[in-house]
Point group: C2
Chain length 571, copies 2
């Protein structure tokens, strides 16, 4: 029974004892990455840095027990952090205490929403966020996040605003750039980038194995943070004016509390929470799926709803912001060898140790360095080559990518996501409202029927065979009827119309009405309507109708071939 | 050329001279119906009665030239009138002059919106209002209209409100019923009902032909109006207190003007105008289609957009409210023998004569009688038997009917319509997100393949044949993948999975990604993926992809039969 509730136990049973050292190492490396990243994402969310640490302790610990993914690293993530900032900007304005309460409300609502979806097994709802929309959203959000860090990178006090607005404001106030801050930013970005592939290659040339080199390089951000903090600790007390630093971070862990339940704003924040839940869940599940597939394991999308739901409620109770499975962090965890969620427990314990004893060490950490960490992390999310390949495969999907990305930049992150989803749904509906239809003929000497425009086929002079490549429903009945009537009107000889229903899985009541009218109109013009290859579920329903009863027996055929032969034999 | 712009000329050329007398008679009968109805619908819209007369003069005259329907009677309609009242209640409050200007803005916007749709040939947009939604909307709106007339029928001053609200307010204030008003209402309703079938039957028994009896009975409402007006003209000056009467109606026609263009509120009224345009257009086209089919004529849905667009702009310039083709009025016109829109010109001229010379005669007309006319007219729109047959055919469509009808009553006419459309679209999307899939086998001795659960068929032990009865797109890829994997996992022997794509007209980029993952996952489990009956347009696209290139040649088959034979031959 415990194995069912807590997949961790099943995973532990299935894995070797020898894996524990892998998990220990992976958890440690993830923690080293997470400490600076957590503080950075808290800053991105407009929250004090310790909240990023708290979000890296309780949530991964709780997820470890409930999650079906073995390598997903849960904690604060960049896109959700920006969405939190966006939601709280309207809710809390300049009131720091309200920001903190608001973040907890968002986390709780996110969790409850996911739990409700899980309870009703509505995981399928999130599949309405299509792949192009998610990709466009991620790229747009990454650009938005980068623009939001300009003020920290340049040390200018810009008003909080969206994308283009911020860039324009920066261009206006560029002359106010604080040069010392800018030096910290530029150096941090350069070193963070060098700390990736170039450092790995250097370490390999120095004799480390590829794996050891890769893992050692994961420490680069923490080293950069320590060095930058030391430099600032010398410069700031020596009189370097205007370099923004993190400042005092309280030591210890927050006392779990439920006061946020009594705070106002639950209704106001609900739409934002739903969107944060959606984005967080989709991101978590996609990375979890990718990682599971690499080791031929499985995740359970419906159980993930519950796991991430519980995790977010725990985040709220632990006094912090909404969390999700981070994309790059999970990959780091996986590459470092994480076999089970024991790695996440290790991470949580190590971050807790930092929060308990070492927060004072970050007092002089410049905000510019955190901004540099954010920028370098999210820059990876900008993926134009994927956009290109989506566009090449399908113009409509490419357009959905573009609309979403642009809408995120222009309308903001929430409206942008909603606009993307709406456009992708509208595109699908519009497409099905203009279905592909084809006039068919028989491939000579076979019993196969194909489009007359694509193949050399035999046709009957007085029979029009039309295949309808779509379900018949209200949005397309008018256009289907028009297509059929146009083809009948053009050809005086036509005495029979045979509709091949092999691609029609559903005929709604609007379409039924249209078919009935069509049957009457054709009859009035001396043309007989026939159907072939009607599917079981469609036939079940049609049988009860007036039309079905009229056609049944003689005018509905099992296959196009049967119909073709019967109509050939007619006088 | 004129024939193309003005279908009337083509219709006249095609029709006999002898038809002119039919048109004259039909136009006269329609005018007799329209005079009281026009004033009643103006009252329903919250406008002075003369605006209903104006809406019955210029619009039918203009539509006569542009319309492709020969029998559609254009003028004020009940549902649009209620929507006008609803829109103007927020816009103009108690200011009567603002109500009039607002009505003109609504008419102009309705017209421009339809013209824009016509220009871009977007007539298909309106097909997103499904048949069940329209039916539910009409029934809900009819009930709403009836409740809105309670105050006039009972002579109580109730606050303007929606459906249930009004009924509750009436029940509270029932004791204030003005009994003289109530007598007028009750008698009018009784006589209007008797003036239909019972009167026709009586006249037939008196020796009139069925046709003559039917047409004579059309005069009943006007006779009731005249008798009621005479009664009130005696009672009111004699001291009958509190019987609300129409009062002074200005004589003459309004001077066309464009002042309303400068009025404010264009943005505020736009959403209402769009909905009025949608409802008016759909109602007009459906009745026009029904009437055209009865005489084997055609209407052009795209040209109707332009015709109704010009007509509504003309209505605005002529100083009146939005118009559409009325359902019952058009049927009266048709039954009376209207052959061309010359009948509408006759109607327009006769109503103009009334507006010019006889408005004073309606001074003592009780509002209660107009309310009775409204109630009796819209009661016909309540169609529960249609709802029952929709429900019987398809539960989802029945639910759409119910949601729309209830939403109109609870949320109001605009939100109700929007909710209905949203629900019907969501239902369709939800349905396609859980596609029908079937495991297939060969019907013994044939080359037909059918569902193993519905037919006795042959199957191969190591091959799973699955037919996907839906387009593959983002909303259903997860559920399709799950179905396939579930069926592979259950059966250890399976070495081949054959997807029959005969019902797949479209594979979007999210689904392509899923298919690629599926192919890899199956390969890892030692199972080979095959496709059969891939449609031309799908194949064109698939060919360019990695997956298409991998499968091309050996693993994509023209037909399920080819695949079945090839896989039978495999070791």
């Amino acid at each position: 029974m415990w194995h069912k509730i807590f997949p961790l136990f099943a995973h532990l049973q299935a894995s070797d004892r020898g894996n524990w050292s892998d998990d220990l190492l992976a958890g440690t490396i993830t923690a080293i990455l997470l400490v600076p990243q957590g503080m950075a994402y808290a800053m991105l969310a407009g929250l004090p840095p310790e909240m990023g640490l708290y979000a890296s302790i309780v949530p991964p610990f709780v997820y470890a027990f409930f999650g079906t993914s073995r390598a997903l690293a849960v904690g604060p993530v960049a896109v959700a952090a920006l969405m939190v900032a966006n939601a709280l900007n309207n809710y809390a304005g300049g009131d720091q205490a309200a920001w903190i309460t608001g973040a907890m409300i968002l986390a709780a609502q996110t969790g409850f929403f996911l739990l409700i979806l899980g309870m009703f097994r509505l995981g399928a709802l999130v599949s309405f966020v299509s792949h192009p929309v998610l990709a466009g959203f991620t790229t747009g959000a990454a650009v938005l996040i980068i623009t939001s860090q300009i003020k920290h990178l340049a040390g200018i006090d810009l008003p909080r605003g969206d994308g283009l607005e911020t860039v324009l404001a920066f261009l206006q106030h560029m002359d106010q750039t604080h040069w010392l801050t800018f030096v910290f930013s530029a150096l941090s970005i350069a070193l963070l980038l060098l700390g990736r592939q170039p450092l790995v290659r250097l370490l390999q040339r120095l004799g480390l194995s590829p794996r050891a080199a890769g893992m050692t390089a994961r420490g680069a951000p923490l080293v950069i943070v320590i060095v930058a903090t030391l430099a600032a600790a010398v410069l700031v007390p020596a009189g370097a004016d205007g370099l923004a630093i993190v400042g005092a971070i309280p030591t210890g862990l927050p006392i779990p509390g439920l006061e946020f339940f009594r705070a106002s704003g639950w209704i106001e924040l609900l739409p934002s929470s739903i969107l944060i839940a959606l984005v967080g869940y989709v991101e978590s599940v996609s990375v979890a799926k990718v990682l599971a597939a690499r080791r031929r394991q499985k995740i359970d999308a419906n159980k993930e709803l519950t796991a991430l739901g519980v995790t977010n409620v725990a985040a709220a109770v632990a006094g912090t912001m909404p969390v999700a499975g981070g994309f790059s962090r999970s990959i780091v965890n996986f590459d470092a060898g994480a076999q089970t969620q024991v790695a996440a427990i290790v991470t949580a314990v190590l971050v807790a140790v930092v929060a308990l004893f070492f927060t004072a060490a970050f007092h002089y950490l410049p905000n510019a360095v955190l901004a540099a960490i954010i920028v370098v992390a999210v820059a990876q999310l900008i993926d134009l080559s994927e956009a290109r390949s989506i566009w090449r495969y399908d113009r409509g999907d490419g357009a959905a990518w573009l609309v979403t990305a642009v809408a995120v930049l222009v309308l903001g992150i929430e409206l942008g996501l909603i606009a993307g989803i709406a456009v992708s749904l509208a595109t699908y509906l519009w497409r099905t409202s203009k279905p592909h239809m084809a006039v068919m003929g028989r491939v000579p000497g076979t019993h196969h029927f194909r489009n007359v425009n694509r193949h050399v086929v035999d046709t009957l002079p007085d029979t029009l065979i039309i295949r309808i490549d779509e379900n018949l429903y209200f949005a397309n009945t008018a256009s289907v009827e028009e297509y059929i009537l146009d083809h009948v009107v053009c050809c005086e000889d036509v005495k029979h119309v045979l509709l091949v229903m092999s691609a029609v899985s559903y005929v709604d009541s609007s379409a039924l009405e249209t078919l009935e009218h069509l049957n009457e109109d054709l009859a009035a013009a001396g043309v007989t309507l026939h159907l072939a290859e009607v599917k079981g579920p469609v036939m079940d329903r049609l049988r009860q109708t007036h039309l079905g009863q009229e056609l049944a027996g003689q005018r509905i055929y099992l296959s196009t071939e049967h119909a073709f032969e019967a109509l050939t034999a007619e006088p």
